[in-house]
Amino acid sequence: MKRLPVAALLFFLLFLAACGNSTQPKTAAVANLPAAHVDPATAGSITGRVLFQGDHPMMPVIDMSSNPLCERAHHTPQKAETVVVNANGTLRNVFIWIKDGLPPARWTPPAESAKLDQNGCIYSPHVLGIMQGQQLEILNSDPVNHNVRAESQINPAWNESEPPRAEHKIKEFDSPEVMFPLTCSVHPWMRSYVAVSPHPFFAVTGDDGSFTLKGVPPGTYTIEAVHEKYGRKEGKLTLAPNGSATVDFAYGG
């Protein structure tokens, strides 16, 4: 009987040690790859749409009462952007990219930075595609304090404050990662998603649910669609020289 408490404690410690999962970020392998080259004469394009089937989910109205300055920035109640179904029955904010099929190469990121704004205590855009090594410029257009937290698993995670009128935050992600949330703990409804692609062939569906990947070299590819709630879907296609190919995706509620 006297050893019972000690035995219970030891058993528990062993159990907790066995249950704990590791969240160590994976480090991406850096390869010395040849510079990528696309022959404009043979490059083609990949197009498609992301359809939504079933009942359109009702998104909840965001309660911004914890910060009246956020509330005052909007004339109408703001709804969550977790699932946005367009008027034509397509799905917005789906990240599309070539997941597989491109020859290993080092693609040069664009000199222009991608921009993410915090405006009215909402991230704009909601889903952002960016190239590995491309600069991400994070703005705060609000008169309130924000913190920006990158909840990345492969790239180093970070969390920094961005007061009003502060200098724009410039960030880079060195490893491909599709995709991870950027969040604000001051305003817990604020959530955007960043997808870091190793190449420039990606797009995010907009208010017509379509996408176009231009200047793609001919080949056989796996195209992946990624949605924050409904997850990942893949499609395969072959792109002929100077041709075009179509792939559609469908998500259901």
Partner: protein, 305 residues
């Protein structure tokens, strides 16, 4: 101040204040986690580089938690000074020192979890140490009470129904359950482990409490403690069910919902009370039910006299 073993109402009231503020601190910490505000202030020990940032959104909860923690730290320092200046019982003075070390470590863990972006093992340790610290402050309030200084009312341990070691099982099981709950809240494990363990912990508490009520009820202190503990535990089980159901109901919410936050924070706070009640019960058992060897020695002394 006189250093003696007499009742010191000021010290006792101060200890009660410390325990009460620590419970508020547990509530404030629970609010930070439930409101997802843990990283709303990215720097530490300052907040946005200031002592007092604008208290908006999640900053209100995170910086408010830091302010309550600072208050509890200061109260603990004063407690230790008071104990060393006026308390004769050396073990109680050292208990105060342990409490001070615990509150310092707790502050450092709180800072580290912010700076390292909420690693589960630091956040879980922070939550568990909070519970242990609260129980320590409750014990300090108990030890400085007039009730405690009146001395024990010994009850002989029934060899058929031993209680001394068994009484230790309750706080250990409660602490393990709190650790599982904290680990689930910080996403180290699924909440299924915390939920599955709750009947076991409730069963142990009932086992200990019923054994006291059935075999040691002649002692008023033990009777009171062993009815309080299961009472708090039943509230805790209800709050746990409510917190879980509200989480399921608001699974798709884009922000923490008030009902879910309320049930969860009450569940955390009553968890702290359950832990403290089980610790008090174990202390009272060890005070009022002497160890068999000691009981034998006492019997021998009384036989000689």
């Amino acid at each position: 101040m006189a250093v003696n073993n007499e009742y010191k109402p000021g010290l006792h009231r101060w200890s009660i204040l410390l325990a009460f503020c620590t419970l508020l601190l547990v509530v404030a910490g629970g609010l930070v986690t439930s409101r997802d505000a843990g990283l709303s202030v990215p720097d530490w020990p300052l907040s946005y580089g200031k002592l007092m940032p604008p208290m908006e959104g999640g900053i209100l909860y995170e910086h408010g938690h830091r302010m309550v923690a600072t208050t509890v730290g200061l109260l603990t320092i004063v407690s230790v000074i008071w104990l060393f200046r006026s308390e004769r019982r050396r073990w109680l003075r050292w208990l105060g020192v342990i409490a001070l070390i615990a509150v310092i470590v707790q502050g450092v863990l709180g800072g580290l979890t912010v700076l390292l972006l909420l690693p589960w093992w630091i956040s879980t340790s922070h939550a568990c140490l909070a519970q242990l610290f609260f129980s320590t402050t409750v014990a300090m309030a108990l030890f400085t009470s007039r009730w405690w200084l009146r001395g024990p009312v010994p009850v002989e341990e029934d060899p058929k129904f031993p209680i001394r070691s068994l009484s230790l099982l309750a706080p250990i099981c409660v602490l393990c359950q709190l650790a599982l709950g904290a680990a689930a809240r910080h996403k180290a494990i699924g909440s299924i482990y915390h939920i599955s363990a709750s009947p076991i912990v409730t069963g142990v508490i009932l086992w200990v409490s019923l054994r006291i009520l059935l075999h040691y009820a002649q002692n008023r202190e033990l009777r009171l403690a062993s009815t309080t503990l299961p009472g708090i535990t039943f509230c805790q089980v209800f709050l746990g069910i409510a917190a879980y159901m509200s989480r399921i109901a608001y699974a798709d919410a884009v922000q923490p919902m008030p009902l879910m936050v309320t049930f969860t924070v009450f569940h955390v706070a009553v968890g702290a009370l359950t832990m403290a009640a089980s610790v008090v019960l174990a202390i009272l058992v060890h005070r009022n039910v002497p160890a068999p060897a000691r009981a034998f020695a006492d019997t021998r002394v009384s036989a000689v006299s």
